[in-house]
Symmetry: C2
Subunit: 341 residues, 2 copies
Amino acid sequence: MNRQAPTLEDVAREAGVSRATVSRVVNGVRNVDPSIQDLVRGAIERTGYTPNRAARALVTRRTGAVALIVSGAGDAFAGRVFADPFFGRVVNGVVGYLRARSTQPILLFAESEAARRQVVDYVGQGGTDGALVVSVRPDDPLPDMLLAARVPTVLFARPARATPVGCVDLDHRAGGRLAGQHLLARGCRRIAVIGAPPDLRASRERLAGFRDALARAGHDSPPVAEGVFTLDSGAAAMTTLLHDHPEVDGVFAANDLMAQGACQVLRELGRRIPEDVAVVGFDDSSVAVTCRPPLTTVRQPVEDMAAAMARMLGEQVQGTVTRTEPRTLVFEPQLVVRESA
Amino acid sequence: MNRQAPTLEDVAREAGVSRATVSRVVNGVRNVDPSIQDLVRGAIERTGYTPNRAARALVTRRTGAVALIVSGAGDAFAGRVFADPFFGRVVNGVVGYLRARSTQPILLFAESEAARRQVVDYVGQGGTDGALVVSVRPDDPLPDMLLAARVPTVLFARPARATPVGCVDLDHRAGGRLAGQHLLARGCRRIAVIGAPPDLRASRERLAGFRDALARAGHDSPPVAEGVFTLDSGAAAMTTLLHDHPEVDGVFAANDLMAQGACQVLRELGRRIPEDVAVVGFDDSSVAVTCRPPLTTVRQPVEDMAAAMARMLGEQVQGTVTRTEPRTLVFEPQLVVRESA
DNA sequence: ATGAAAGCGCTAACAG
DNA sequence: CTGTTAGCGCTTTCAT
């Protein structure tokens, strides 16, 4: 245990070559005689050499790691994040992309003011080469903090305030429209909405798109009950809706989790889905499949968006000096029809 | 953008002192004249200095970061992990403990052979000071790989093979017993079990404890249908159970997610919970509360266990040369009575 | 194709 | 209490 980890120097001595040569072999640089390569590889094997990340990062100014920061607020934040299948899809998308490029994805939680500071310090001090941020709150200060710390950053979803930073986003309005058209097409006439916090651009646009669709078909603007993306809040909103509009025959929920909550309430009250009330969700997260009945929903290509986010960051980090404008990549939603509508 | 990040040297020049003094101020070492401290702090402010993590880690041989590795297998691994509220509790426990010690918790996913290699490289090359591992599979090779790479490691749950490594675990047998006693006490007589993969020690012990309780009360060993900890598998197991034993009046599921699946099936078939069939889960994860009806369950003090795991690792990393035996810390489960039983 | 040498930015003895 | 001096382990010119 006392033995220090072997260094490049040790390997060089063992192989009878210089440090530089060993370094070249380790990093797969050409211009090394094949026989010497074997020699070195043998020595590496024997010594059990492992490069030292810190030393390498110090000179290359690169860590080979990228942070995926889930940012929001509240106690038991991780618990909430882990209860929402949406994040799983983001992580999968990012991890899939980064693995193939032998970059280490690192998941960080910024759940409080103190945590934000710690996280910004970590990446700002060169703990990673850049940051991918998924914010839960619209007025999240994290992106600005990251920018101030000169950390290459890409966001999932455009921030409320215009910020000079790359991001990927969805055409939420088109998604809302898709939901509205579908409900109309299957004959619903007394339609209601379980909305989401209107301070989120995504919430507003989903709702606007949905209203669009109804308006174009000559329908009134639907009643809206607001939730906060959780199952419980969806159930509560559905209860409210049913109380005020017992004759409702179609519901659009701003995400799948709330749609699931709505379904639970509906079924408890003996309403058949979709016969009595049709339900459309949003996201196409994993609950859309496990929900009873499986949800018809507006699919957000989250994995693709996440991968694109990682790719954008990669380009920014590689940073050919060409300082390109931070772009926003907008993806198109898609209606997935299952049983609930 | 071209300006190099300021270094200790720059700050020293700006403040008119030596590098060492600035370093002392930055690291809060005593023995620095207060007036000079102010001088230095001013210079830091003006230059916008941020310490370089790599340089610091290189000399201190410490990163101030700890990896929390979620290890398992399968496509869309992150998706599954994020669908299981259990992990959220682990993360919360670890994060809570580490934050207070200004250590950066880093979440890593080891979902495939390649990923495992990458992750072991990352931490083995000094990317973090140690690893906390939560394995999904009993024969996970990761702990051994970590050990071979000389990474300080602590596990959540004892591994199948004896491994010289610290871990925290639950008295699963006692937990099973608690569930059995409760079902018996509320008058259930035709009891069945939704089990979990028997290659997991935890599964076997929960079941053994449950059987214990029944046996002591003079009951036969209950029928068992096996699931894999997911909602779907719980529903499927419940369906099987009802088919083979339609008269069942009490069910013990090896985790909450499966219990929830069971509840869904039961309700669809018109069985009232707990009047017709009482259901007891395991874990007391967040679904226990959101489930309809809320689940009576065996609580696993996951947050405490996770914090203890982080603490053990901390002690190991600080490593007074005293090489203590790797211990296993065993926690006691607790019955939480809600509505389902 | 290989080696020698100069740091990367920081901490930690050791002097003074 | 402060400054000087060695490195930590690695990559990377620049010679050879």
